[in-house]
């Protein structure tokens, strides 16, 4: 069953049940997507809550054009950017910022230092320019299509493909380096 023929009709029929189904399906992907962007657990928690409340409030504005999944991830990305902007004392933050946030392992208690390779991969990802980071994360972790990622980033498929390609190259280079 897809979102379009299961979750959306249920929300229209019974908002409470529909929103619960939406959360059951998306709470983890949305949280992890935001967490990879903002790094800190507390920030990710706040931005995830704000994301779902914004989704519920603006559900009636979802036109049905483009995938529902992309619409949800776009709102999640915007909430992550909004939170990072607030933390940095700015009014807005765009995907042109380079990079969004540095990986600060020591600052977060919910971090597993034991898996050195996983830590190194996240360091490589968070060091990327924001657009490349977004393209890589949404493709590698969330398995969105290039079209869906373009919808999330407000970009084109060709640009997203290029960003993903550059991101992957940089990550491979970093993973093969002696940097830790």
């Amino acid at each position: 069953m897809t979102d379009e023929n299961e979750i959306i009709p249920l929300i229209r029929e019974n908002a409470e049940k529909g929103f619960r189904l939406l959360m059951a399906k998306y709470k983890e992907p949305v949280y992890w997507h935001i967490r990879r962007l903002v790094v800190s657990h507390a920030d990710a928690q706040d931005a995830t809550q704000d994301t779902f409340l914004r989704i519920f409030r603006s559900f009636s504005q979802y036109s049905g054009e483009g995938s529902f999944k992309a619409w949800i991830f776009r709102i999640a990305t915007n909430e992550a950017l909004r939170l990072l902007a607030r933390n940095q004392g700015k009014t807005t933050l765009s995907l042109d910022e380079t990079p969004l946030v540095a990986l600060t392992m020591a600052a977060d208690s919910y971090f597993d230092f034991g898996n050195a390779e996983a830590v190194k991969l996240q360091k490589a990802i968070t060091a990327l320019p924001a657009k490349q980071q977004l393209a890589f994360n949404l493709r590698y972790y969330d398995e969105l299509s290039y079209k869906e990622i373009a919808d999330v980033a407000g970009s084109t498929e060709a640009t997203v493909k290029a960003n993903y390609h550059f991101a992957k190259e940089k990550i491979i280079k970093y993973m093969n380096s002696n940097d830790t």
Binding site: R35, L53, L121
Partner: protein
């Protein structure tokens, strides 16, 4: 030479963790906040509807009172048999001029009060629609 890295070695593992029961609590927190927000919105809507009904009732009462006062005073001022001509503007003006200064002041006061309340109520309506 193109470098390579075997992503399957690590797959989707991440160094990030969450507290136990985090996702269950997250869902309850979000749904709780949403239900609270909906409840507050419903209360706001209900209070706004009540206020609107009260304003409409006040406005109607003022209009009725003003009409009755005007009719009574004009009738009193007109000579007998002239009631039929009361809707004629000149007759009304003449009748108004025939009123005592006190009655004229009273009529003007009622009219101004009604205008003031009307403007005030319109402003409230505008604020509500914003």
């Amino acid at each position: 030479m193109e470098e390579n890295y075997d992503f399957s070695r690590i797959g989707k593992q991440m160094p990030y963790t969450v507290p136990d029961g985090f996702f269950e609590k997250l869902e309850e927190d979000v749904m709780g906040a949403w239900n609270e927000e909906c409840g507050m919105r419903n209360e706001d809507t209900s209070a706004a509807k009540k206020a609107k009904v009260v304003r409409m009732a006040v406005r109607a009462a003022i209009a009725v009172a003003a009409c009755i006062a005007l009719l009574l005073i004009v009738k009193k001022a007109l000579p007998q048999g002239q009631d039929a001509a009361a809707d004629d503007f000149d007759s009304v003006e003449l009748a108004f001029n025939n009123l005592s200064t006190e009655d004229q002041d009273y009529l003007l006061e009622v009219y101004q009060e009604e205008q003031f309340l009307d403007n005030y109520l319109n402003e409230l309506d505008n604020e509500e629609s914003i």
